[in-house]
Symmetry: C2
Subunit: 341 residues, 2 copies
C-alpha cells in the first residue's frame, strides 16, 4: 500500500479538553478519572461529573496520544511464521481472551520458517509495544531484537535461558504415545519430521528417538517434509520413503504434525497401504479435521489456546516484576483414534 496522503477528511475527534470543559474541571482531572488514578486526588463529586461528561460526549482516550505520553502503547505484537495452519487460530484465540479489551493484538506474519528482518523488527519496536510474543524464533531474530519490550517465546523448548518461554509438556505426550504404540505391539517406528527447523520439532524428534530406544523399539529414519500447511509435501515424502520403511519393518509412523499425517494418510490410500492394519499413523496438534479424516487420526493434542493464554500471562508477570518468570508446562495429551486402533 502506498503511503500517500489521505484524500478522506478526518472527523473532529472528541478530546479530553472538551470533556473537561463540560465537567467544569481541568484536563488533568479528566485524565486521572478515565485512568482510574483518582485515589486521594479527585473528589467523588468530580469523578461523577467527569464520568457523566465522558458518557455524554462518548469520549474515548486517544490511544496514540496516550501512548506517546506514557511511552508505551497498548499493542501486543504476535510474531508468527504462518497462519494457514488452524493451530495458530487457537493460539490467537487464547491470546485475545487473556489480553482482554484493553490491549490490541498486532500480527507480524513472516512466512513459514522465517523470522522478521532487522528492518521489520525496528518497525515493530517503533510501535512501542506493550509486549512481544514470538512463535518459532531463530537466533538472528533474538539477536536483532533490542530490549525494547517484554518478550515471551511460544513453543520454543530450549530457549528458556534467552527469554521467558511457554512450552508444552511434549515429553509427557510423547511418552504416552510411545506407550500406546508399544502396547499395540509395534517394535519399529518411523518418524516423519517437519522441514522447519525450530526447537519444538527438534525436541519432538529427539523425544521420539530416545523414547523409542528406552522401550526397546527401533527408531528407523527421519525424512523431512516441507510444510506445516500443505499436506502434499508430506504425501510426497511418504511416497518416497515408504519402500524403505516397509523393507525395514516399520509398522508405525509418527508425524511431526497432524497436517503432515494427513498427507501420509492420503498417500497411503493411493498406495493401497492400509491404515492402521499395515501402518499406524499419528500426528501432533489435534486439529479439527483429525476427527474427520479416514481413518480418524491418533494424535498428541497440543492445547493452542492454553499456549496463547500462558504467553500473555507470562507477559503480564514480566510487566509486574523484573525477576525472571517461569511458566509451567502445558499438558500434551494423547488422543487415540482409528489410525492406530
Amino acid at each position: 500500500m502506498p503511503r500517500t496522503s489521505a484524500a478522506v477528511p478526518r472527523p473532529r475527534r472528541i478530546t479530553a479538553a472538551q470533556v473537561a470543559e463540560l465537567a467544569g474541571t481541568s484536563v488533568a482531572t479528566v485524565s486521572l478519572v478515565v485512568n482510574d488514578k483518582t485515589a486521594g486526588r479527585v473528589s467523588t463529586a468530580n469523578i461523577e461529573r467527569v464520568r457523566a461528561a465522558v458518557d455524554e460526549l462518548g469520549y474515548v482516550v486517544d490511544h496514540t496520544a496516550s501512548s506517546l505520553a506514557r511511552g508505551t502503547s497498548n499493542i501486543v505484537i504476535l510474531i508468527a511464521p504462518d497462519l494457514s495452519n488452524p493451530f495458530y487460530g487457537r493460539v490467537i484465540s487464547g491470546i485475545k481472551d487473556e489480553l482482554g479489551s484493553e490491549f490490541q493484538l498486532l500480527l507480524s506474519i513472516t512466512g513459514e520458517g522465517r523470522n522478521p528482518s532487522a528492518a521489520d523488527v525496528h518497525r515493530l519496536i517503533a510501535l512501542r509495544p506493550a509486549g512481544i510474543l514470538v512463535e518459532a524464533p531463530d537466533d538472528a531474530f533474538l539477536r536483532d531484537l533490542p530490549a525494547g519490550a517484554p518478550l515471551v517465546l511460544l513453543d520454543a523448548p530450549g530457549r528458556e535461558t534467552q527469554a521467558v518461554t511457554v512450552n508444552f509438556d511434549l515429553a509427557h505426550g510423547i511418552n504416552a504415545l510411545l506407550d500406546h504404540l508399544a502396547e499395540r505391539g509395534h517394535t519399529r517406528i518411523g518418524y516423519l519430521d517437519s522441514r522447519t527447523r525450530t526447537e519444538t520439532f527438534e525436541l519432538r524428534r529427539i523425544l521420539v528417538e530416545t523414547g523409542a530406544a528406552a522401550r526397546g523399539m527401533e527408531y528407523v529414519s527421519r525424512p523431512e517434509a516441507a510444510s506445516l500447511i500443505d499436506p502434499d509435501a508430506a504425501a510426497e515424502a511418504f511416497l518416497e520413503h515408504w519402500p524403505a520403511w516397509r523393507e525395514s519393518g516399520v509398522t508405525a509412523l509418527v508425524c511431526a504434525t497432524d497436517s503432515h499425517a494427513y498427507g501420509v494418510l492420503k498417500a497411503a490410500r493411493d498406495l493401497g497401504v492400509r491404515v492402521p492394519e499395515d501402518l499406524a499413523v499419528t500426528g501432533f496438534d489435534n486439529l479439527p479435521a483429525s476427527a474427520i479424516v479416514s481413518p480418524a487420526l491418533t494424535t498428541v493434542e497440543l492445547p493452542g489456546e492454553a499456549l496463547g493464554r500462558g504467553a500473555v500471562r507470562a507477559l503480564q508477570a514480566q510487566r509486574l516484576s523484573p525477576e525472571p518468570v517461569t511458566a509451567p508446562l502445558l499438558g500434551a495429551t494423547l488422543i487415540v483414534r482409528g489410525s492406530t486402533a
Copy 2:
C-alpha cells in the same frame, strides 16, 4: 491483562533530534528526509548527511509520535469473526502481502457470528487506523462505526451501497457447480446451510436455489449447521436430515463450506451412505484438507488471498480519491474431485 505500570525500564530511544545534531541540520529537515518529502526543500548534500546519520544511529521514526502529529497511524485493522478456519489464514496472507512493510495489521477477533461491541469499536477507532477491513459485518456494527477511517467490507455481497465491498463471483462458481451436478444426472439437490447468517451465506443459498430451479432441478431443503470451524455440527445436522433427504430422493448435497462438508462426509461414513454413489457432496473454499479427505471433496474454490489483496487495494484507492470505488468480483472456480465423480 491488567493495565499495571511496567516494572521493566525502557531503554533510551533514538530521536530525530539526535540525528539532526549528528547531521548538522534541524529536526524538520530530518523529518522531511525520512519521509521522502525533500522535493524543493532539502539539498542533496543535506539528504546525504541525514541519511548517513540515520544509518549510523539506527534511527527509526517513532510510530506513535508520527501518528499523533499526522493524525493517523499506519495500522490497518482487520475485524474477523474467527481465525480457526484456515480460510482466514489465506485472507490474512493476501492482506499482508499487499500492505507491504510500511503498514501493520491489527486483528480484532470477535467470535463466530458476532461483531465488535460499540465499546470495542471506539477502542479501535482510538488507534486512528489507516483503514478498517471487515469480514461479515452486521447492521449494528456498521451503524456504530464512526466515519473515522476508510472502510472495506470483505465477502459481504449486497452491502455495496453501504461501503466499498470486495466480493467473490459466487454466481459463476455456483453455476459451474450446478451444471456439473446436472451433467451427472442429479435432479434433486439438498443444501446444508451455515448457521451464521451473513450475506455471503444468504447469497450462496439463493443462488443454489434459483440456479437449481433454472436447471429444472428440485431444491429440497435447508437445514442449518452451526459452525464454520467445527465439522461436528454439520455431521449432526446431516444425521438428523438424511432420512428426510433420502425419502425425497436427494442425490446431491451442496454444503455452505468445506468444513461443513467434512462433517457430512464423516457422518455419511458412519451411516454407511456411500459418497458419491449414494450421495454427491460439495463444499465451498477449497481448504487444504479437501484434497485429503476421503473421498476428496468437489468444491468451489474461493481465492482467499485475492480477497485480502483486493481489500487492501480498495482501501488504498479510497485513500487516493474520495469517489466511490468499485472492486471487481474475484473468480470462484469449480474444482471437481471424488465426492461427485
